[in-house]
């Protein structure tokens, strides 16, 4: 698939010398949902702000739909919609007028029917004449999305769309994102909720300390790095791992009441059968057995730890 957003050697250093982005390279494919995961202060918002034109890059090049964001900023920005992290809205305006304002600002002629259609898509239509200050937090976030969609962009940036949003609304937001993808919009969202990336993204990018650590297909990433663990609970605690089991690289847990065996799910042989046979030979009594699949969260924590 062609890249609709291409970031090349992007660097952003602030006046104080802090380097928020260190030579970032990133291609975003047309029509995908890319989740950018990273801890607080990793550079997620700076990356988005720089692509959208709010922050000026120190060096590097960004193109959107083939248009350079510096030299051909009008064409590039027309393709982009941005939903910021903070709820920044004019409190005294109505929902309809603020969304209509966004459309005009991006150069589109006034089209009330189109604005109404967007409001319906986001279940905001019955609130269209309400003042922003009368809305709940979740509704305000929807208004921000409606504003970003008002000029019918091809690429939508969602900066932490579900930060501070309750579980129900978060799921609701995921449905909205899925609907947008279905309508052909490319979506880039930043989040530090791993489950969010796991639930909705096609590809996952991990960013930490201003560097992109990896960008990979979500399923591949899970398969490649996904490990499974067996936790063997013992009837009696062991002080040390018996010699017969030393070759399995077991970990002692719960003060010797559990043994943990990690294995690769994609490997030809998992080694589980021989482990259990050898365990029986040692005479240790097994109380219970649990398996656990490593989540994206574990992968993420491992990755960020490695670079720390």
């Amino acid at each position: 698939m062609p890249a609709i957003v291409s970031v090349q050697n992007l660097r952003k250093a602030y006046a104080g010398g802090f380097e928020a982005l260190k030579s970032v390279n990133l291609d975003i494919e047309d029509g995908e949902i890319l989740a950018l995961l990273g801890p607080n202060g990793a550079g997620k918002t700076t990356l988005i702000s720089t692509i959208c034109g709010i922050t000026v890059p120190t060096s590097g090049r960004i193109t959107v739909g083939g248009h350079d964001t510096q030299t051909d900023f009008r064409a590039a920005r027309k393709l982009i919609g941005l939903v910021p992290q903070e709820i920044n809205l004019e409190p005294f305006e109505t929902v309809f007028s603020t969304v209509s304002f966004s459309r005009g600002l991006f150069g589109k002629p006034r089209d009330d029917a189109k604005v109404e259609e967007i409001l319906k898509q986001l279940s905001l239509h019955d609130k269209k004449d309400n003042k922003i200050m009368m809305l709940s937090g979740g509704m305000k976030r929807r208004v921000l999305i409606a504003k970003a969609l008002a000029h019918e962009p091809q690429v939508l940036f969602l900066d932490e769309p579900t930060a501070g949003v309750d579980v129900e609304l978060r799921k609701d937001m995921w449905d909205v994102v899925a609907g947008l993808k279905a309508s052909g919009v490319t979506i880039i969202l930043t989040t530090h909720y791993i489950e969010e990336a796991e639930a909705i993204a096609d590809r996952i990018g991990v960013i930490s300390k201003g560097e992109i650590l990896l960008v990979q297909d979500k399923a591949d990433l899970m398969a490649q790095m996904g490990r499974k663990q067996i936790q063997i609970e013992l009837a009696q605690a062991v002080d040390d791992i018996p010699d017969a089991l030393k070759s399995y690289a077991l970990e002692r847990a719960d003060d010797g009441l559990s043994l943990i065996y990690s294995y690769d799910t994609t490997g030809e042989r998992t080694g589980i059968t021989t482990l259990l046979n050898d365990l029986q030979k040692t005479g240790l009594q097994m109380k219970d057995l649990q398996t656990r699949q490593s989540s994206l969260e574990d992968i993420f924590v491992d990755l960020v730890k490695e670079t720390a």
Binding site: C52, I54, L82, E90, F101, G104, L105, F106, G107
Partner: protein
């Protein structure tokens, strides 16, 4: 040129003005009436005539200028400061608009509001004094240029201001004294010679003088000089705004 964006900003700002229509009109009408009562009637009864014009009529151009300059400045500064304050400026910065388009929208709206109030004061003054306008076209031109140039200044203040106190600071500490000392309520020729020279450093003198000439055909300084001063002031503001957007001063990191 993104005309849709300019028009959108303009209309959005004008709507804010019409939402607070009563305040927008009542307060200038009331303060102007007070000026007429205090200056025109109480003091004017002792001064009688200035340069062949009754004192009540003489202060009309100055009164209009006083209000128009403050209104243009405060409207424009608030117009751009408010999005900065509540954070909606992100949208302006990420939109496909150039600095000229943003300025045209905000400054255009602020200048229109100031002009609107200027006209209301002029109408109000007809109830208090007899005035005829000698050069109506020049009057409109001076009024328009003053509204635009002071709205540009207000735009700069709005970008510069880091809080609401700073937003009030320049209009209060600089513009009001300059306007009061710029011959709003008197002719420069009424001052002692030394003060006449000092006053010439006040840019507002040229604007009020030119505006008053369009009413009565008499001026403190030549009309050419007045036009030059206002053009210089507008050019300086525009250059400064161009620099702001070029460097992202106080708006873009």
């Amino acid at each position: 040129m993104n005309f849709n964006a300019v028009w959108t900003i303009y209309i959005f700002e004008m709507r804010r003005f019409f939402r607070t229509m009563t305040q927008s009109i009542v307060s200038p009408v009331l303060s102007t009436s007070l000026y007429f009562v205090v200056f025109g009637t109480a003091i004017g009864s002792r001064i009688q005539e200035v340069e062949g014009t009754s004192y009540g009529a003489f202060i009309v151009p100055g009164l209009i200028m006083l209000t128009v300059m403050t209104q243009a400045t405060s409207n424009a500064s608030f117009g751009i400061y408010f999005p900065k304050f509540i954070g909606t400026i992100y949208e302006l910065l990420s939109a496909p608009v150039s600095f000229l388009e943003i300025v045209a929208g905000y400054v255009g709206a602020a200048a229109t509001k100031a002009m609107f109030i200027g006209v209301i004061i002029l109408i109000t003054s007809f109830f208090f004094v007899d005035i005829t306008i000698a050069h109506p076209l020049a009057m409109v031109a001076f009024l328009t240029l003053t509204c635009i140039s002071f709205a540009l200044l207000g735009f700069i203040i709005g970008i510069w201001a880091g809080n609401f106190e700073q937003l009030q600071l320049i209009p209060l500490l600089v513009i009001t004294p300059l306007v009061f000392l710029g011959g709003s309520f008197y002719s420069i020729s009424m001052l002692p010679p030394i003060w006449q020279s000092i006053t010439l450093f006040n840019p507002v003198v040229y604007l009020i003088s030119g505006f008053r000439w369009s009413f009565f055909g008499t001026a403190d300084v030549s009309i050419g000089l007045s036009l030059f001063a206002i053009a210089l002031f507008t050019g300086a503001c525009l250059a400064f705004i161009w620099w702001i957007f070029k460097t992202g001063w106080r708006i873009r990191q």
